[in-house]
Amino acid sequence: MAPAPASGPGLATTVPAPRRVAFRRPGAAVIAGVAVLGTLVVIAVVAPLLIHDYVSINTGARLLPPGSEHWFGTDHLGRDIFDRTMVGSRNSLVVGACVALATTLLGVLFGLVAGYFRVVDSVLMRAMDGMMAIPGVLLAIALVSLLGGGLWTVIVAITVPEVPRTARLVRSVVLTLRELPFVTAAISVGTSTPKILLTHILPNAVGALTVQATYVCASAIIAEAVLSFLGVGTPPDIPSWGNVMAVGRQYFQLAPWIIGFPGVLLSVLVLAINTLGDSLRDRLDPHLARRSGL
């Protein structure tokens, strides 16, 4: 005899589902990353308010090594490296954040459109390829000579070649997602195309995008330093890690601290952002979250 057939709704599913995995304790690397980034953000906000004299020249204190008077030493004009580095952190963070934001917004726009609407895909992506082919440094030089040096020139110069990368990423995510049955399901229950893009596709791309944004941010900070180092970035009167290091290049053997301190901070900041990006990727991926929720 067969067991009594289950009758009535509910019977088959009386086993309650497990509770959703709540907050997971972050690892040491993530805590360190947050601490580093947080400290530098505070410094970037506060330093320019506290430190006013980071440009005046003091020929009596040229190329002093780190000491109690000048923690990070001084440069060839007797300027305090600590002051200049602290103030310069604002520049780096602003560039990183703005580039990441601009790149993500433009990349999402182009990526979504190219990925979902087949008609414009090839045109848009060829345009992206063209953008990708512009070397950032040359673009920066061109923009500086056209518009004059400045923070915004740097941001534009770094953003332009980064946008296609994000757009390509978004497009590939969209191409994968649009073939999934849940998107087909959304179409068949009458969801409009804009709503599908915003409620089904974009949220499922957020994980990949956030991670990408952190990498863009990190590489933008480096790119800013490189451009300033080459003299096509932030003008010398606004200190940035890049132009502080550019000065240090000439005195590297005499005064390695000029290039050393901002260089180390740059590495630490980029490392912190990348660490956060990696941990975000692990957290935002629902499959990984489910596995660790077991």
């Binding site: 057939p5 088959a12 086993v15």
Partner: protein, 342 residues
């Protein structure tokens, strides 16, 4: 029976991880397999059937801990044997085919090359001889135009043909045991019938024992001499196929058999269903793992863990209420008989 069985597994356990978070994927699994016979391991997802097979092959990953009282092939213990010896046994004494033949064949090499390599790994034959043997095997598994397909790449073959090539490779060294893990699940029914037929024919020809892992009771009915039904990592019932299908002893087996729609009885009634969900074995379940879904469960089932106990000729069942259920059944039958006599 004289001597030891071909494959002898006693009290095999596979555990992933350790401590309280350990997942006990297989617990106390015991079975034997005789030469030329077919044993079907039946179960749903997470029942531990595939894990068991992989552990027998020594193919469980680094994360798994395998323990067994006895794990022996033709009298030779496979536990604690050197990796080199195990590698020599695999492919030569035991081989395995999988559900997805595409991912088990290397897409970068031709079919013929892969079969020949499998032969040369275990036998000292030259390339030409190995190639001849490969061709012979492809003809054996009835791949049409075998000579041409010897130089085909896996992607050029259909799903059924790939599975045939896998069978050819697995049997190239005439192993004593073929382990087939859901070999037909990814295939269409007409192709499934072809592959099952092929396995059966070659089994007869080579006197190979087959350990067939499947979720499909139809495949079991087609192929099995012996059946072991697994649930949540344990064997809940085993016995000769016909007897088990005739009168399933364990309520889970009974439920499974009743839940399969049969096209031959074209009725439009409700199927009898097993309520609840397939359990995820990530924690120790007190008592019988099937109790929460069992129509015959009593409070005692949630407290005590049933042991697999012999019931009749080669049959065993792990159910605390086995005796009562049997009496119940007998009670149902007896009055009818009296009626008929009256």
């Amino acid at each position: 029976m004289i001597g030891s069985p071909l494959l002898d597994v006693a009290n095999l356990s596979v555990t992933f991880g350790s401590g309280p978070a350990a997942v006990r994927a297989a617990v106390g699994v015991s079975f034997t397999l005789e030469a030329g016979r077919t044993l079907c391991l039946v179960g749903e997802s997470g029942s531990g059937k595939s894990v068991t097979a992989l552990a027998v092959m020594g193919l469980h990953g680094k994360g798994a801990h395998v323990a067994a009282d006895r794990l022996a092939l033709a009298g030779e213990s496979l536990t604690g044997v050197s990796p080199a010896r195990l590698a020599a046994i695999r492919g030569r004494e035991i081989s395995m085919i999988f559900q997805n033949p595409m991912s088990s064949l290397n897409p970068a090499f031709t079919i013929g090359y892969q079969i020949a390599e499998a032969i040369r790994l275990h036998e000292a034959v030259d390339k030409a001889a190995a190639r001849r043997r490969a061709l012979d095997m492809l003809e054996h598994v009835r791949i049409p135009d075998a000579r041409r397909h010897l130089d085909s790449y896996p992607h050029a073959l259909s799903g059924g043909m790939r599975q045939r090539a896998m069978v050819a490779m697995a049997l190239a060294c005439r192993p004593k045991i073929l382990i087939a893990d859901e070999p037909t699940t990814a295939l269409d029914v007409t192709v499934q019938a072809q592959i099952l037929d092929l396995i059966e024919t070659l089994q007869r020809e080579f006197a190979t024992a087959v350990l067939l892992i499947t979720h499909d009771l139809g495949v079991v009915a087609e192929m099995a001499d012996e059946v072991a039904v697994m649930y949540a990592g344990r064997i809940v019932e085993k016995g000769p196929a016909a007897a088990l299908f005739d009168a399933p002893a364990h309520p889970y087996t009974e439920g499974l058999l009743a839940a399969v729609p049969d096209h031959r009885s074209a009725r439009k009634e409700r199927l009898s269903e097993i309520p609840g969900n397939v359990p995820v074995v990530n924690r120790e379940i007190p008592g019988c793992a099937f109790a929460p879904r069992c129509a015959r469960a009593r409070p005692v089932c949630a407290e005590r863990s049933p042991r697999l106990e012999a019931i009749a000729a080669g049959r065993a069942s792990a159910c605390l209420r086995r005796a009562e259920i049997e009496a119940e059944r007998a009670g149902h039958v007896l009055p009818c008989r009296e009626d008929r006599h009256a």
